[in-house]
Assembly symmetry: C2
Homo-oligomer: 204 residues x 2
Amino acid sequence: MSDTETSETILDAAEELFAKQGFAATTIKQIGAAAGVNPALTYYYFDNKEKLYRAVLGRLIGTIATQGARQLDPAPAPDQAVRALVGVQSETLIGRPTLPRILGRELVDHELSHASDHLAHLSATLFSRLCELIRAGQEAGTFRDDMDARFAAISVISLVPYFHIARPVMGILLESGPDGPDVETMRAYGRHVAEFALAALAAR
Amino acid sequence: MSDTETSETILDAAEELFAKQGFAATTIKQIGAAAGVNPALTYYYFDNKEKLYRAVLGRLIGTIATQGARQLDPAPAPDQAVRALVGVQSETLIGRPTLPRILGRELVDHELSHASDHLAHLSATLFSRLCELIRAGQEAGTFRDDMDARFAAISVISLVPYFHIARPVMGILLESGPDGPDVETMRAYGRHVAEFALAALAAR
DNA sequence: GTCTATAGGTGGATAGAC
DNA sequence: GTCTATCCACCTATAGAC
């Protein structure tokens, strides 16, 4: 196996296990077993467990950044932009089921942890863009202006991630089993959120 | 120290640490130290780490159940009921800062875990009540009826918890530091969510 | 009920052969 | 690059004195 192949295999296994069990509960030996690779190799490629975790985070953030770029490039009407943002959020989280779980853990842990500045910076950028967008809509008269733009932005970007982070619970609530809702249901929820958010923002 | 006093002290310390670090990363020795008590006492009162964690969960769920009961007793107009639900959610999560963190971890972990059936049952009950409420509002004409009631219910109950689970990130986004927003801001957000949700649900 | 001592096991990490 | 063997630290849990 070539260098990159092996390290990639380890990264895949690690991502899966960190998502499923969290950082502390996951052992290097488990990762080696899951990757079908000698556990000692983890140290050859990643020095230690902490750096391995960061490498996993780095790859995930790369995914988000790529997807995120898509949603900000064209700046159409505010309501179309909100729709696009929600859509990309939804597709990103559906496409990488390990993302919401690791993200969820990072959100809760943020204080102590690993919490990459990248992530904080990225979400801050995205957040302030969304705030501007909402303010623009308010000035244009399409959005109601008796709502704090920052709180509204938080509400909008909360809806989709929570659904995916709490996926097993959503499975119970929607009676589709503990594995969570199927892909079509998740897509449908994404479309619902766009409607819900725009209805909340719309001027009367 | 009397029995209950000691076990209560241990529970307090454990709740704090489990919230801050999670189950796997928290050690019995840390708990003993934080509680100012001999670590071996943990086993005297709670048998093992797992059962201690369940005891912590049990206390927290008790809190939720007590608060939750309040919000369902009187059944006023649907929009008032939504307002009340959001308000209680917000106050409960503000009042017990350790609740959203442990809850967040449970949400992510639900599969494997400890995830008490109590919690699942409780949220399911609350959820189906909210669904009925929304459907009632739709039939009464106060809520728009071109929205799936279950999806709408999920959206409504997502808004407040996400804010508290991601509290450190919210601190960054709202520029109030990594400790998260202050109590007044959290209250204000709760009020905002009520407006946001009702605007989203309202018939045109 | 509380404390000390310790058994028993596992995890992260390294040294060194191949 | 890969694998074996192993060290050391630390964690859960128990036995037993007080």
